[in-house]
């Protein structure tokens, strides 16, 4: 059977034009997708049943037992942490927030280790952005800064930017100038019209230089800024000012390098400045398929996109204090529920090590590095493969993930709802 217009749940591009061939409840072929999509759908090896750590290894337990024990762990905790959420649908995220509210937990999502700094910058200066179709249909200048979409978002350039045929840019690549800014020559840099190689940690200075040039103060710029020649900076600023529609996309090379959220703030302020000359937009390249959805759901329910602490009864937010990494690193939390993510692989060592010290429960379709640190792992559906639900694309467009096959696993929203009910004495949220 062929399923058309399937949404790939893997990255923030949420490409919705895949064709999947299924046979006897199995996906046998993926078309239109990138290699990441293919592996998402084809290499979907699940944990068969809930497992619990024993003295010597692991034992299988029933879902009821696993859910009951998880509820007990959370109930007994003084400072529980609910973390992850970015690879599942909004329906599960929403129940997660209700649980956090009910038990006074900290709830955080993977923004904490990816675009958290972008959010902090946006909270200072705002975000001039747009949906990806605006870029596809209009943009004649595309900038990738501290990002390598060829590897991390393989179809971003073909579906939305560089190679996409747009209404006002029918010749696509031939009508576009592509600028790549990075500290090293990546595969993305190889296809750029202008590659700007910055010394490590020099992004902030380069943004400041570009802002000065755009404002007409090129005379104050030294011969080189963070390894970039003044001539190239002036050329880049001119390309931007002359653009009919320019778009900057940035990645973790900017958020997680020296300067962190200040880099993003400077990038946004450059975009703001360019809007006084032409049309310019800027957007983070979000990683996990529904990380932006977790920001959206958290925000309409609690007021904050990540790092929400309910310990005082109200929703409290102070990144650096209420972020998962910091809570773990300080050894503060005494139980953790990890849903749809893998902090064991992504967190700093000290933070991950604390997960192994406390009762940690994982709800995730797949065995991952966090499993090794956990006490219980409860397998579930994978949103977009065997569960339907809402995901938000990196530009905020909400898309319904489809259920393509049935593998007999319970939905993580269902598991979370049962945990909620146990914690709430049988009452729903």
């Amino acid at each position: 059977m062929i399923e058309r217009d399937v949404v790939c749940p893997f990255c923030g591009c949420l490409c919705d034009d895949l064709e999947l061939e299924t046979e006897g409840g199995k996906i046998v072929k993926v078309q239109n997708g990138c290699s990441l999509a293919e592996s998402t759908f084809m290499n979907d090896t699940r944990l068969p049943a809930p497992i619990r750590r024993t003295e010597t290894g692991w034992e299988d337990i029933s879902y009821n037992e696993a859910i009951k024990e998880t509820a007990e762990i959370l109930r007994d905790a003084d400072r529980p942490l609910l973390y992850g959420w970015s690879s599942t649908h909004g329906e599960a995220q929403s129940i997660g927030v209700h649980i956090a509210e009910l038990i006074g937990a900290v709830i955080d999502n993977t923004s904490t280790v990816c675009h958290g700094p972008s959010i902090l910058a946006i909270q200072e200066v705002g975000h001039p952005g747009c949906t990806l179709g605006q870029v596809k249909n209009r943009a004649d200048v595309i900038i990738y800064w501290g990002a390598n979409p060829v590897e991390a978002h393989p179809r971003h350039m073909s579906r939305y930017t560089t190679y996409a045929t747009g209404f006002f840019v029918p010749e696509a690549r031939r009508e576009r100038t592509v600028i790549v800014v990075d500290t090293r020559r990546t595969d993305t840099a190889n296809i750029a019209d202008e590659f700007v190689q910055i010394e490590r940690g020099g992004d902030y200075a380069v943004f400041s230089a570009l802002r000065a040039i755009v404002r007409g103060n090129a005379s104050v710029i030294p011969r080189k800024v963070a390894g970039v020649s003044k001539e190239q900076l002036i050329r880049i600023a001119e390309i931007c000012k002359k653009a009919k529609f320019g778009a900057i996309f940035f990645g973790l090379g900017l958020t997680m390098s020296r300067g962190k959220y200040k880099n993003i703030r400077n990038a946004i302020e450059l975009t703001d400045e360019l809007n006084r000359h032409t049309k310019f937009v800027i957007s983070p390249l979000r990683g996990h398929g529904n990380v932006y959805g977790s920001n959206e759901v958290f925000t309409w329910m609690t007021g904050y996109p990540f790092a929400v602490d309910f310990a005082r009864g109200i929703a409290f937010y102070n990144p650096g204090e209420t972020t998962a990494v910091d809570i773990l690193r300080r050894g503060e939390c005494d139980a953790a529920l990890i849903v749809a993510s893998d902090p064991g692989a992504n967190f700093p060592r000290a933070a991950a090590a604390h997960l192994a010290k406390i009762p940690t429960v994982v709800i995730d379709p797949h065995v991952n590095a966090t499993t090794a640190l956990s006490r219980i792992h409860i397998p579930c559906t994978a949103a977009g493969i065997d569960a339907a639900g809402t995901a938000y694309r990196m530009d905020g467009v909400p898309i319904r993930l489809k259920k393509v096959i049935d593998r007999g696993y319970p939905d993580d929203a269902e598991i979370l709802k049962k945990i909620y009910d146990l914690l709430n004495g049988g009452m729903g949220p």
Binding site: H127, T131, N137, R138, G166, Y392, R400
Partner: protein, 566 residues
């Protein structure tokens, strides 16, 4: 079967011509009935003011830009926060509260139905998700068409039927309620960082003008028999001298509908400025209302501003950027492919600013100078002019000259010469307020037949009982009692259940979402139009099959079907 009997209610129900009669109201299974059995639960209203549930016909509470307003404003989230309590979830935020915050606070004020002012169809799913989390009000969504490419193409071809067919397809796909035009044509121009300066400017690349978009959409709206009229945010919002654009626009509007207006002009305060610069800006409320008083086919809402900090958010992207260049605070922008734009910036309206004082005065002038209260509804364009929790103060100001005088005394000295407010003696009565906060909205939105905005037999039992005794309060003198009384109902009843008591929510909500399915003839349906499909697949970034909002997003959807073109 659940029954409720509200006795000794002092009812003002303008749609049924009831003005302050002491009556009993019988409710069974969510609707108003002739009588109930003696097993019914009894509420003694003790002769308190009892009105149909409040209806907001233009508010921004759900969806992409509202949520972005929250996302970018932790400072506001801290400004209003409450703990989980009983049935109430945690809330955050003052001028852009979380969904539960919006829902609880509206409910405490007796509001039971809200129209979200602006929903981009591409992001409709988001709006509906937030509607579900706004549980105590029935919801509906104005759907943005101001920069819709297929609409502009049909308008250029002067094809009203095709325009209507695009609207019908899009409304159904977005599960939207009515047509919203925000700075028509201007939001498309903003895709290039440009704006339009008047209704006869040409939209770049599309060869249509705002005037053509507005007039064609008005005719398409009536062809589709939509319950609501075209809902227009005029061009040139917030610019000194823009009243001429507003008047020119109003002059375009024919009278095409016997049951309601033909044009709903929203937040007209922002569109009633004289002068040519911020230095010589003045009120043109008299000119605007003179025209509206002679044109029953136009209904407007005030767009009142109130002093203090708030957030402006609108699909009018270019306007927000202009405002950003004045304020130099943070600025967000979010253009939506083939459809519309949007922008957000925080603002503070200050009594020390002459411009802000004039704006404040204009909103009140519009209401006081419009003879027929059914033609000027009470709103703040929440949160643009002020958060909705300020409505009781607006009511107080409209009912009391003394209150206005006291406020005016604190205003910037230059205000008096620039407006007519100081000379206006009119004091609105309880009936006027009932019209301007629910009955007028129900009529304007076309939901009287859905049982909204009145308390007749068969109506939905949405009722607000305020702790106000109209026989013993003189609103002209005791305006503080009026303001307090409208801040917190004694009871808010939603579909026959008491949901809020003395400001506290006591049950879980179960709202409905109204949307419109206008059935157009098979041969011009967009889903059968190869050219429409081709352009859609080429230029949108989602597949056409993934675009329509699935029914699962409207757990209690209420579809209003119309037989278009008949």
């Amino acid at each position: 079967m659940t029954e409720l009997w509200v006795k000794n209610a002092c009812v003002i129900d303008p749609i049924r011509g009831i003005n302050g009669d002491i009556m009993d109201i019988a409710i069974r299974d969510g609707r108003i009935v002739e009588s109930v059995s003696d097993r019914a639960e009894v509420i003694d209203a003790e002769r308190c003011l009892t009105l149909p549930g409040g209806i907001d016909s233009h508010t921004h509470v759900s969806g992409t830009k509202v949520n972005f307003g929250r996302y970018m404003s932790p400072e506001d989230m801290r400004a209003g926060r409450t703990k989980r309590k009983g049935k109430m979830h945690v809330t955050s935020g003052y001028y852009v509260p979380t969904t539960f915050g919006n829902s609880y606070r509206y409910s405490a004020m007796g509001y039971t139905t809200l129209l979200e002012g602006a929903m981009a169809p591409l992001e409709a799913r988001h709006t509906h998700e937030e509607f579900t989390a706004t549980p105590h009000q029935d919801m509906m969504a104005n759907t943005l068409f101001d920069g819709n490419w297929a609409v502009m193409d049909a308008v250029r071809e002067k094809d009203i039927r095709k325009t209507a067919a695009v609207v019908a397809w899009t409304l159904k796909a977005a599960r939207g309620y009515g047509i919203k035009l925000t700075n028509p044509g201007g939001t498309e121009a903003w895709g290039w960082g440009e704006d339009l300066t008047g209704i006869h400017d040409t939209v770049p690349h599309f060869a249509v003008t705002p005037a053509e978009i507005i007039t064609t959409m008005i005719r398409a709206n009536e062809l589709l028999k939509l319950p609501h009229s075209v809902h227009l945010h005029c061009n040139n919002l917030g610019k000194p001298g823009n009243y001429q654009t507003t008047l020119e626009t109003f002059e375009l509007v024919p009278d095409l509908n016997d049951a309601r207006q033909t044009l709903y002009a929203t937040h007209v305060q922002f569109h009633a400025y004289g002068g040519g610069t911020w230095k010589n800006i003045c009120s043109k409320a008299e000119e605007i209302t003179r025209l509206v008083n002679s044109k029953p086919q136009i209904v407007m809402d005030m767009g009142q501003i109130m002093f203090g900090r708030t957030m402006t958010m609108t699909a009018d992207g270019p306007m927000e950027f202009n405002l950003h260049c004045l304020h130099n605070n943070k600025w967000s922008n979010h253009d939506v492919e083939l459809e519309t734009g949007s922008g957000i910036i925080p603002v503070t309206y200050s009594k020390k600013s002459t411009v802000n004082c004039i704006m404040w005065a204009i909103g009140l002038e519009l209401a006081l100078l419009t003879k027929n209260p059914w033609q000027c509804l009470l709103e703040t364009d929440n949160p643009n002019g002020a958060p909705f929790v300020k409505y009781p103060e607006v009511i107080g100001l409209l009912m009391s000259k003394r209150y206005r005088d006291e406020e005016c005394a604190a205003l910037h000295a230059g205000t008096e010469q620039k407006t007519s407010l100081y000379a206006l003696e009119r004091e609105m009565d309880w009936h006027d307020i009932a019209v301007m906060t629910r009955a007028g909205q129900a009529k304007a939105l076309g939901i009287v037949s859905q049982g909204k905005g009145h308390l007749g037999v068969g109506a939905e039992a949405d009722i607000a009982i305020y702790p106000i005794r109209t026989d013993s309060v003189d609103p002209a003198r005791e305006y503080r009692k009026v303001v307090e009384g409208f801040q917190k109902t004694r009871y808010t009843i939603k579909r026959g259940r008491v949901v809020s008591r003395d400001g506290e929510i006591i049950v879980d909500g179960a709202n409905a979402t109204f949307w419109v399915d206008a059935k157009v003839p098979e041969d011009i349906r967009m889903e059968n139009d190869p050219e429409f499909i081709k352009r859609f697949e080429q230029f949108y970034t989602v597949r056409m099959s993934n675009y329509p909002v699935q029914d699962v997003y409207l757990p209690r959807g209420r579809c209003i079907e119309t037989e278009a073109f008949t």
